[in-house]
């Protein structure tokens, strides 16, 4: 009798997972590919000295991206991480400059970041504004405040800042120099980043907080009806994010020993990219910290490798965009769209 090929639109469980696996490995493949490419083409790339450089240079971005994870996991987005970043830096540097000790300055800096998060929560939870718009507004307002405080946006230099604070970004855990000029400089900021990432990983994957955030991100209404205090936990996510990003800002200002207004913007897009690359590496597509870190490292390696290959700085953006695009295309071409929700009709 007439017979046709089996044509499947909706896949049953096993095949879908296969698609996911392929997508994940595909992404990893590209990342490794880039890594090896640089290892081969740029001789100085694959040295411990250089790699530790990459790590320290990526640590600030890592912290921002990790902070962002909390908000994205709960289904939102936070464009104002740039502002939390800057406010942390601004408060700390200004306080230091006026003579305050490093500890109080840091604590108040963290509080400032948390405040930004609180503002975001208010807008999203109470005023019920979409996170994209709400944090966009915060971004505007925050950057404007920075310009007002610095009367135009000029950086605030403070090379004489407290040594303890300087240590945040410039201090090294250990330095090892060998005779032939290799220098491994394992900066303290890497440790901070690792600690923050570990804490965030724990929170997101092992605690009630993490479970609630994922539930809110998966299906807010159902989560609410299951007794998850949605409003409260959404607020937690934003506040945590603001806090963490302000820490990143402080480290950044420590590296430069100055507060440069609007420097947070630079990290915004990369952080978003890293978080999403991270979610593509997860079996079910959840936002996750390890994946995000891979994303962060990827950006770091890319920038570093391009530099070492002698490729002009301007090519960085081009390559960055191109490679992300390639990963995305690969991922989509192989894997099934797992962001797609229920089929409209019940099975059989």
């Amino acid at each position: 009798m007439s017979r046709t090929l089996v044509k499947k639109r909706s896949l049953s469980l096993p095949v879908r997972n296969l698609g996911n696996e392929a997508g994940r490995y595909g992404t990893l493949a590209v990342l490794f590919g880039v890594f090896f490419l640089f290892a081969v083409t740029a001789p100085s790339f694959f040295s411990f000295g250089n790699l530790s450089n990459v790590l320290s240079q990526s640590s600030v971005l890592a912290i921002v991206a990790v902070g962002l994870c909390f908000v994205v996991a709960s289904g939102g987005i936070d464009l104002s991480v740039a502002v939390s970043f800057d406010i942390g830096a601004m408060t700390a540097v200004l306080l230091l400059k006026s003579g305050a000790g490093w500890l109080p300055s840091m604590l108040i800096g963290l509080a400032a970041g948390a405040l930004v998060g609180l503002l975001n929560s208010f807008l999203v939870v109470k005023a019920k504004i979409a996170p994209f718009l709400a944090t966009l507004g915060t971004l505007f307002i925050g950057e404007s405040m920075e310009k007002i405080v610095t009367k135009g946006g000029e950086p605030v230099y403070f090379p004489g800042m407290s040594e303890a604070f300087k240590w945040l970004g410039r201090g090294s855990l250990f330095v090892w120099e060998s005779g032939d000029g290799t220098r491994i400089d394992f900066k303290f900021s890497i440790v901070i980043a690792a600690a923050v990432a570990a804490a965030a990983y724990f929170l997101l994957s092992r605690t009630v907080l993490g479970r609630y955030l994922h539930a809110i991100g998966a299906q807010k209404e159902a989560a609410a009806l299951s007794g998850v205090p949605v409003k409260r936990y959404t607020a937690y996510a934003f506040v945590l994010c603001g806090l963490i990003c302000s820490l990143a800002g402080m480290i950044g200002s420590s590296v430069l020993t100055s507060y440069v207004p609007m420097s947070g913007r630079y990290y915004l897009m990369d952080a978003i990219g890293a978080v999403f690359i991270g979610s593509m590496l997860h079996r079910k597509g959840y936002v996750n910290v390890p994946g995000t870190l891979v994303g962060v490292l990827f950006f770091g390696i890319l920038a570093n490798g391009l530099n070492l290959s002698g490729i002009h700085f301007y090519w960085q953006s081009v390559v960055r965009g191109g490679v992300i695009f390639a990963i995305l295309a690969l991922n989509s071409a192989i894997a099934n769209r797992r962001l797609h929700t229920a089929k409209s009709n019940p099975v059989a």
């Binding site: 090929l5 095949v15 007794g227």
Partner: protein, 520 residues
């Protein structure tokens, strides 16, 4: 020789990895007949329809349309041939107007850049709607403002625009009030008069018996039988579907009730209900029902999370609740099974384990940290107890059948130790087998001292399970029926406002009578 059948699906086989969805299934549809398809979820009727729709291809077998063999059906081809589907989910864009929705994709214009003559479109839409389905609504109204029944009629009208030869209705009345359902039946009968072949899929066996000329029963991927509906009773159909007697479904009613778990007084909602007063005691099932618009479905959720409430007192376990919120409800021992299971009951992309433990994380965690082994133990226990059929506790809940998904939701509340359960249409679109399991689960909950508020429009279910039934009409409780002798007719009459609307109540009651008198 011209076939008497407009559609034939002969000896269809269909397999998915690990599942034989259809085995040697033969189905034939005559011109101008209403043919019902019944069977549990998973029995194969949806798969057969998906093959008909061109979404799947059969592994083996032949499909003939008007006597001609069809190869390689695609959705587009199927529509061209004149086979149209009215789906369960009404996919609509809320802010498009009626006219725009009616003609979406088939706008009377040639190239996509042609301008729409709004006024003409609206006029034509209104005329068409009036003529084909007797619907009289302004053509420029946003579709989101129509009632569910009206939206469905819009869909039917759209299908009729193409002069179909076959129309497939998939669970159309699950969301309709009985007046709207009656109207739909009229239209379907009219379609039959026009010699259109109609396939009618439904779990509402009384409707099937009323409406259809013949039915085909599916079980486990095979066709059990095709019968004339004349003289057929529901018991026989269920027996064919399940292989069991219907009587076995319902648990024996428990008589003794204990302390009041929930007490509600003067509860008022902004627009759905007012002055609601009742109580639910431990060990009893209180049923609530009413027509669409009576407020009974809203009642359940509002008691649980306070949405829309403007006044009244809620007492739980003897203590008045100051703030009514879902998380407070959960910690006070309430559990809510929502009507819209897919979007508000389960968290689709999460696993069975995560779904079940969501409301009881406090119990399996220490200082905010979840203890995986404790969670696993608890979840496995519940999966076993409720016989949740899934490929393991990590399975994505979305992939389970409706009945199993519902069990997951119930498991969540069992896990959180809820004592008061508010169930909103718990067995809607759940197959007969799973229904029975859910009923016995409710029975065991009661035995352990829980109280259940059962909101349902399935009157059989309501009458069989409930100790008391509260009937709501236009936002108020108009009658409370108690005792063993409650009949479905009594409930129906109360639902329609007692002696007002006497005729429609009587007609409907008569319709139900023949189908269910044996049960009661």
């Amino acid at each position: 020789m011209r076939s008497e059948y407009v559609l034939e699906m002969l000896k269809i086989d269909k397999e998915f990895p690990g599942v034989k969805a259809l085995q040697q299934v033969t189905f034939q549809l005559r011109k101008g007949e209403i043919h019902g398809l019944v069977g549990e979820n998973g029995a194969g009727k949806s798969t057969l329809m998906k093959i008909l729709a061109g979404i799947y291809s059969p592994d083996r077998g032949e499909i003939r349309f008007e006597g001609q063999v069809q190869n390689r059906l695609t959705p587009r081809l199927v529509a061209q041939k004149g086979i149209h589907f009215i789906h369960q989910e009404r996919h609509v864009v809320p802010y498009l107007t009626v006219a725009e929705t009616l003609f979406l994709g088939i706008e009377p214009a040639f190239s996509p850049f042609k301008f729409i003559n709004r006024k003409a479109l609206v006029k034509e839409a209104e005329a068409h709607l009036r003529k084909t389905v007797g619907l009289d609504i302004p053509g420029d109204k946003p579709v989101g403002e129509l009632t569910v029944g009206e939206q469905q009629l819009l869909q039917v009208c759209r299908a009729l625009y193409h002069r179909p030869k076959v129309i497939v209705f998939d669970e159309p009345t699950a969301v309709l009030a009985s007046k709207e359902a009656d109207r739909l039946f009229e239209i379907i009968r009219e379609l039959r008069r026009q010699n259109i072949g109609i396939i009618y899929i439904s779990h509402y066996l009384n409707e099937i018996v009323q409406l259809c000329d013949r039915i085909t029963v599916f079980r486990n991927g095979t066709k059990v039988d095709t019968l004339e509906t004349k003289g057929l009773d529901i018991e026989r159909i269920v027996y064919l579907m399940v292989g069991r007697e219907i009587g076995e479904q319902f648990p024996v009613k428990k008589r003794t009730a204990g302390e009041p778990l929930l007490r509600v007084e003067g509860l008022t909602h902004i627009d759905q209900f007012r002055n609601i007063r009742f109580q639910v005691r431990s060990g009893e099932i209180v049923g609530v029902t009413g027509l669409m618009g009576s407020g009974h479905t809203r009642l359940g959720q509002s008691i649980y999370d306070g949405s829309g409430l403007t006044g009244g007192v809620l007492e739980l376990n003897g203590r008045v609740l100051k703030r009514i919120r879902s998380d407070k409800a959960v910690s006070s021992g309430m559990g809510y099974v929502p009507e819209d299971r897919r979007n508000r009951g389960i968290l689709q992309s999460m696993s069975v384990r995560e779904n079940i433990s969501l409301a009881s994380l406090k119990n399996i965690s220490r200082a905010g940290v979840v203890r995986p082994s404790a969670e696993r133990r608890k979840v496995d226990e519940l999966i076993e107890r409720l016989d949740i059929r899934a490929p393991g506790r990590e399975a994505v809940v979305n992939d389970l059948s409706g009945g199993n998904q519902q069990k997951v939701v119930l498991a969540r509340w069992l896990s959180s130790g809820a004592k008061l359960y508010i169930l909103n249409q718990p067995t809607a679109a759940v197959d007969v087998g799973a229904k029975a399991e859910i009923y016995s689960l409710i029975g065991s909950l009661i035995e352990q001292g829980a109280g259940v508020l059962l909101i349902s429009q399935d009157l059989q279910e309501l009458v069989r399970l409930s100790d008391r039934i509260l009937v709501m009409y236009r936002g108020e409780i108009v009658q409370e029926l108690e005792g063993d002798g409650i009949t479905v007719e009594q409930v129906m009459v109360a639902m329609m406002g007692g002696n007002e609307n006497g005729t429609s109540g009587q007609r409907a009651a008569n319709g139900m009578e023949s189908a269910v008198s044996d049960q009661i």
